[in-house]
Symmetry: none
Subunit: 216 residues, 4 copies
Amino acid sequence: MAAGGEPTVRRAERKRAEQAAEMRHEIVEAAFAEFAARGYHQTAIADIAARMGVSPGTFYNYYKNKRDILDHVVNAVVKEFMGVLTDENAPDAPTTLEEYEAQAMRIAVAVDAIVDSDPRVARLLLFEATSIDPELSERILGLYDLMAQLAKTYLDNGVRRGFLRADLDTANTADAVTGMFVGATIRALRSDLGPDARRDVFAAHVRLLLDGVRAR
Amino acid sequence: MAAGGEPTVRRAERKRAEQAAEMRHEIVEAAFAEFAARGYHQTAIADIAARMGVSPGTFYNYYKNKRDILDHVVNAVVKEFMGVLTDENAPDAPTTLEEYEAQAMRIAVAVDAIVDSDPRVARLLLFEATSIDPELSERILGLYDLMAQLAKTYLDNGVRRGFLRADLDTANTADAVTGMFVGATIRALRSDLGPDARRDVFAAHVRLLLDGVRAR
Amino acid sequence: MAAGGEPTVRRAERKRAEQAAEMRHEIVEAAFAEFAARGYHQTAIADIAARMGVSPGTFYNYYKNKRDILDHVVNAVVKEFMGVLTDENAPDAPTTLEEYEAQAMRIAVAVDAIVDSDPRVARLLLFEATSIDPELSERILGLYDLMAQLAKTYLDNGVRRGFLRADLDTANTADAVTGMFVGATIRALRSDLGPDARRDVFAAHVRLLLDGVRAR
Amino acid sequence: MAAGGEPTVRRAERKRAEQAAEMRHEIVEAAFAEFAARGYHQTAIADIAARMGVSPGTFYNYYKNKRDILDHVVNAVVKEFMGVLTDENAPDAPTTLEEYEAQAMRIAVAVDAIVDSDPRVARLLLFEATSIDPELSERILGLYDLMAQLAKTYLDNGVRRGFLRADLDTANTADAVTGMFVGATIRALRSDLGPDARRDVFAAHVRLLLDGVRAR
DNA sequence: GATGAATGAGTCTTCATTCAT
DNA sequence: AATGAATGAAGACTCATTCAT
């Protein structure tokens, strides 16, 4: 850094930009909280503002309108959700069935952790965002495709390595796996299960995934 | 009319009651159509009335308010949906794996038929009804439990008969199966798949259900 | 009329339609009064409703929005204004200068009568309607063209009959005449002149129109 | 700098005052541009500030409020408009009809030049400023009186010199002349006339002014 | 029982203005 | 003096619901 550092004006600008970014973030959080608690349609902009202790007008200094903030809330939630899924996608893909099983459990546990720590995330994505307008519904449904694609890469890897059935219809099975996970998430939203019981749920899911139900 | 039949007054009363019942039914249908097409919040009572060619005031002669008609619409839709599931549950439960597989396919096909013939049914249940208020969300989630219970009876039967794994955690596996079905339904809503492609989807689901993904 | 007259239902329908038409008319009047008194932008829909003793919501049962009612108000006002101008345009066009002069005076008096009886008509057209949006401005300016066309037919008639200058540039002179009238109207809006003084104003206008200012 | 000039402090003060005056002027220009382009009500203070590249807050360091700047804008525009009219009013008043006619054309051409170079001036005065509030309307209408007074001095001069009709009602005729000019201005705003066509319009106006329409 | 006009509470959104920095 | 974020009052518009006919 040159002596004297950046000029005062410049620093002030940066500070304002930071504060604005922070405000935008806080609004997303407040909006998320309200949407999750009362639903999008039942939430007034005034509710969001009140939660933050600011005036309704302030909201509009940061977001264009109610639909706009919803988009940003959904973005943030999706990002968090997808992050969990892909973070577990370690560069070293599983090479044995045991590793595969372990990874499946890790993903299951991670998703469960999200739902457990903040059920509102899943609730918003699954229940709220699908009924606002066609454009957003489409976007949420697109997530299913994304998850299915991810699942397919896992399955393809397993087939290539030889620890999954060679005749697996990976595309359609990936859909089925995705469905299982979505269903499990919905299930988790509802349950008042303790940690142990939840562990059993995951285990049953993973077991079904690996072995099916057929007797041997 | 046979002598001694019911008195004229009585008959008129019955007729009026029938007409009223029919009107209530027509309103449910109109409301369903509107809710499915535009969403609950985007639908005005006037829209429902207009679809029927009656005045908004008439609506309130048959249903208490907007929330009330939604309940009735959901009831009707749930009834139709559950009917399909249980109709396939023939009194003669499957005794072999082949019968079991056949039945699973039949259910899958039946669900697909609903979605295909009127995607609005699934859309309403999955996307719309979950975001109105907590009470209704609860009720929809209750359906998952119901479906899981149904699945469990199937699984228990299979275990008892010996064509399913003896060590199956039927309760939790039933949840997983339900999730698969829900996921498949969501998938079907989105896809523009032709009948053949859909058949492959079901097949993959049923195969996963029976055999899992593990190589043998 | 056939015995029994029109059916009750039919009559009720007609009555409702009449009442609706009357309501629409009353709203136009109330809106006109408010717009003229306070200006378009300073008038709230609630003001119009309050003047009629109805609720704001009622307004929207009859007109789409605020811009919509303005259009209807302007229509009504234009109609009234143009009516005066064309009513004086008797089928028997003037054949002598004296008749021509008399007709010019009649028109002047008629316009003055409008302005005198309800200055708000002119005020709305001249001052308010020109600054709402481009589309409406264009429409008002179109009125000038219309008036100029009308004036041109008068002038052409005079030239043909020989009591007006043969070398008259009737098109551009018609513009000038229209301008005089518009200016006179604006003048009338401002003045607190009594009837006699106003008569002198018209006389001066008509004299200027006929003879110009040149000494002979 | 001359020895003994004004003290440094004093000079700095003056400089500041000059800068402030310049800023006030720039704001008037920016506000005029916005008002003329979008209309007073459609213009936000933020628009004016944005056009200048300053913040909305700065505006309020120089003008009290939105109404205040409008007054100043109107003042500036009126000043420009009246300047044209009076500049042509040379100290040596016309002594012959030819000179009079020439002057009338000069005024007409000058007004046309304003409208042609910046139609927004006329548009603002004629269409926008008349619908803000009674006080401003009054002021604009006062301009008509001013113009009429000016016209009257021209006419009186002509009568005195003997080249205009001795029996001219100069006061009321002045009104008529003013009306003609206002009408011509409105006409000019609308027309897409080329320079030649416009020349014809003026000629027709001046001819009407001098000779009227009567055949001789 | 059907009607449909009237209601008015509820919300989004804008923007002139203020004021702490 | 410049800034620009915060304010909050104001107003257009919607629509579930009521009720007189």
